[in-house]
């Protein structure tokens, strides 16, 4: 710990101890977490020795608007329903310090190997208690992932953290009303290292472009289409956890986008592999979803929302039960299913000779062969990973399914 403190002094660009408020109240310890949001340190109270807290120093480039949202959520909703409690917050010029509970937790890497299905269901139930509470209060978290849901295995305590990307959601609001809220999000997106392009265009431009496109439904992009502006929506979140409606840049983003991220978390846990998806961009993310859940459902969602999605060659999707069973042990776990498939022989690495099949067509049979708990877990998973946000379960519905 001493060495670490020394190291941090050597390389630090801005230490919390340079703040008079921090200096006056706390003894700063090691860094326990860092990311685009800022850094989290362990701190000890000067006036109450032995009392530990976690102190988050927000990155100094954050806009006050987002800081306000984060503080408001912590203040109004924190401390109940598995949401992290805030004890103090202080601003010193552009530096914001938030004092929260010191929450000892297990890293997912340490527990993922031996986690049982019952424990996964318990984890998900607690995650959905927090989500249901947030959604009921009109908040979308936008960054649900295991790193933001702390879990202490021994005491069975949970805490949802990091509301830096959260947004308010109004039931009746349409994209027009929301646009004031959405446009600065492209700035937020830049912070998360995402491409951001201005989409200022007039109604006249739309009319001009509409008639001239020569590539609709074809595997090419015509000149007219290349000159059009990019569609921009709030894409804040972690790439591998983004819901299809965000990836397709649909206008209507509802709280169920958190349910999708929770579903991806659950799939990771059930497969005992984290992270499962690591796409480099939105196209790759869509393709990966198509590979796992089938391209047909994605194409249907696009059609429903006034889009046309073309994924060639088409993907049949994966039998999630078989994926779960074979991901960690390897290919030989599929040998018991004794079905050969030309498509899967190419799709799965090192499967050219054995040609074991993992196509989604066998999913119903595989589900029937499962134990009750596992079948229940898969049922919950399927409701969370509905590609169409309108048929995806809300957090309230998933919670009642889990209780």
């Amino acid at each position: 710990m001493l060495v670490q403190a020394l190291e941090s002094r050597l390389y630090a660009d801005e230490e919390p101890s340079t703040s008079t408020w921090v200096q006056e109240n706390f003894v700063v310890g090691e860094v326990i977490g860092h990311g685009t949001f800022g850094r989290v340190y362990t701190v000890e109270c000067r006036r109450k020795p032995g009392q530990l807290y976690a102190m988050k120093e927000l990155v100094r480039s954050s806009h006050p608007k987002y800081i306000e949202m984060e503080l408001r959520i912590l203040q109004n909703l924190g401390g109940t329903c598995n949401i992290m409690q805030m004890h103090a917050a202080e601003r010193e010029k552009d530096r914001i310090f938030v004092i929260m509970d010191h929450f000892p937790h297990d890293s997912l890497k340490d527990i993922i190997d031996g986690i049982s299905t019952d424990e996964i269901l318990d984890y998900m139930k607690n995650l959905f208690i927090a989500l249901q509470y947030l959604h009921k209060n009109g908040i979308i978290h936008r960054d649900i992932k295991p790193a933001n849901f702390l879990y202490h295995r021994k005491s069975k305590r949970f805490a949802l953290i990091d509301f830096g990307l959260s947004q308010e959601y109004k039931e009746l609001s349409h994209c027009k009303e929301n646009s004031a809220f959405l446009s600065p999000s492209s700035r937020r997106a830049a912070l998360k290292r995402l491409p951001q392009i201005n989409d200022d265009y007039s109604a006249g431009d739309v009319k001009r472009w509409r008639g001239r496109c020569q590539c609709f439904g074809k595997p090419s992009i015509c000149d007219a289409c290349q000159a059009k502006p990019n569609k921009n929506v709030n894409k804040a979140g972690t790439p591998g956890f983004r819901a299809p409606e965000i990836l397709m840049r649909l206008d209507r983003q509802t709280p169920v986008l958190d349910v999708w991220s929770a579903g991806i978390t659950m799939l990771s846990l059930l497969c005992r592999k984290h992270p499962l998806f690591r796409p480099v961009d939105d196209c790759e993310a869509l393709k990966q979803i198509a590979q796992v859940l089938g391209s047909k459902t994605l194409e249907e969602l696009a059609t429903d929302e006034g889009f046309h999605l073309d994924i060639k060659p088409a993907c049949p999707g994966i039998d999630l039960v078989k994926l779960m069973k074979s991901l960690r042990p390897g290919l030989q776990a599929l040998s018991q299913f004794n079905k050969l498939c030309a498509n899967c022989s190419k799709f799965i690495y090192d499967n050219a000779k054995t040609a074991y099949c993992i196509c989604a067509t066998s999913q119903e049979d595989s589900l029937n062969g499962l134990q009750n708990t596992e079948r229940h877990a898969l049922e919950v998973l399927r409701r969370c990973l509905m590609v169409n946000p309108n048929s995806r379960y809300t957090s309230q519905m998933v919670l009642s399914l889990l209780s």
Binding site: Q4, L10, Y11, D13, N25, C45, R60, S61, S62, P64, I67, E68, L71, R72, I73, Q75, N76, G79, T80, H87, A88, R91, K93, I96, I99, K136, N137, G138, R188, P195, C213, C215, P219, S220, I221, C222, D223, C225, Q226, A227, K228, N230, K231, M248, K273, R278, D281, D282, C283, E284, K287, Q288, F307, H308, L309, K312, I318, L327, I348, Y349
Partner: protein, 310 residues
């Protein structure tokens, strides 16, 4: 792929390249005809006049690994490409042009070096040759990396440049294209390269960073960063985007200290909404805001007690 280009400017007569070059790079990327070639020592002969057995063995293996050949003498019919010698005078000699080497100096040199000077063959000391070899190896590595890097999505690079390319872009399978029926926006599209991590899944020991990433070293144990290394990384200044200044920055430390940022964060009223929310709920933690006694928090959730607190 590396572009194969012919440049008139850089083309040199064959003779001049034979003399000792004063350039720091011994191995040029262009051959005598001016073509850009893949870096290697293929087709090149070397004479090693080295007494130290260990160094001799090391250089021999390295040259042969890169495609070069070791010959024993400086032959007039088939001139070697370079002579490497560990003679103590080499450091001085290699700085001089052959014409400048005086007969008394020539006399104290080993025979092979004298031959090399006479036949205008390149000559290098062991130290400078090892340095050049290291540089060559580094360049080969970069070159290989550049050739295997997957290309970036065209949609994004086009959009940033915002200049339409002439002629339609044709997509080859496998590809993805998402277009809106209204035709108001540019389609989202990508043609996947064989290197793209979405074509194959990897199970068991073959699985790498994700389901779609290959583990290139399935039997090697995973290396993890030490906590000290993690802390060091966490505290290093980073690049990013300042939402207050609406500006990209390369170095966070510099940007936050800049006059522009200092002026922007001192705008009156900018922090008023944040200041309303700061304070302390702990007796033993002071606050610049008046102490708060009551927490503005709705009671725990129950359907009957639902209110929009935000």
């Amino acid at each position: 792929m590396l572009p194969v280009e012919r440049t008139k400017v850089r083309r040199r007569p064959v003779q001049s390249s034979v003399g000792p070059s004063t350039s720091s790079s011994l191995f040029n990327r262009r051959d005598s005809t001016g073509h850009v070639t893949l870096l290697s020592l293929h087709g090149k002969d070397f004479v090693l006049d080295i007494e130290n057995g260990r160094v001799l063995l090391q250089l021999t293996t390295e040259i042969e690994k890169l495609g070069g050949r070791i010959v024993n003498e400086v032959n007039e019919e088939k001139k070697p490409w370079c002579l490497v010698s560990d003679s103590p005078h080499m450091a001085k000699i290699e700085q001089l042009k052959p014409e400048k080497i005086t007969p008394p100096l020539l006399r104290i040199l080993p025979m092979l070096v004298r031959d090399a000077i006479r036949l205008r063959v390149r000559y290098r000391s062991t130290e400078s040759f090892t340095r050049s070899l290291e540089n060559l190896k580094k360049n080969i590595k970069t070159q290989k990396k550049a050739m295997t890097t997957p290309t970036k999505a065209k949609a994004e690079s086009n959009a940033v440049a915002s200049t339409p390319k002439s002629g339609p872009i044709n997509l080859q399978q496998p590809y993805l294209k998402l277009e809106d029926n209204r035709g108001a926006f540019t389609p989202l599209y990508k043609q996947f390269t064989p290197q793209a991590n979405c074509q194959k899944i990897y199970l068991g020991k073959h699985m790498g960073r994700s389901l779609f990433h290959k583990n290139h070293h399935p039997d090697a144990p995973r290396t993890e960063k030490s906590p000290i290394e993690k802390t060091r990384l966490a505290l290093q200044p980073k690049g990013g985007f300042c939402e207050i200044c609406c500006k990209k920055f390369e170095n966070s430390k510099e940007h936050f200290a800049s006059r522009e940022h200092t002026l922007n964060v001192n705008q009156p009223g900018l922090w008023s909404s944040v200041d309303k929310l700061t304070g302390s709920w702990l007796d033993y933690v002071s606050s610049s805001n008046p102490p708060r006694t009551r927490r503005h928090r709705p009671s725990p959730p129950s359907p009957s007690d639902y209110r929009h607190s935000l």
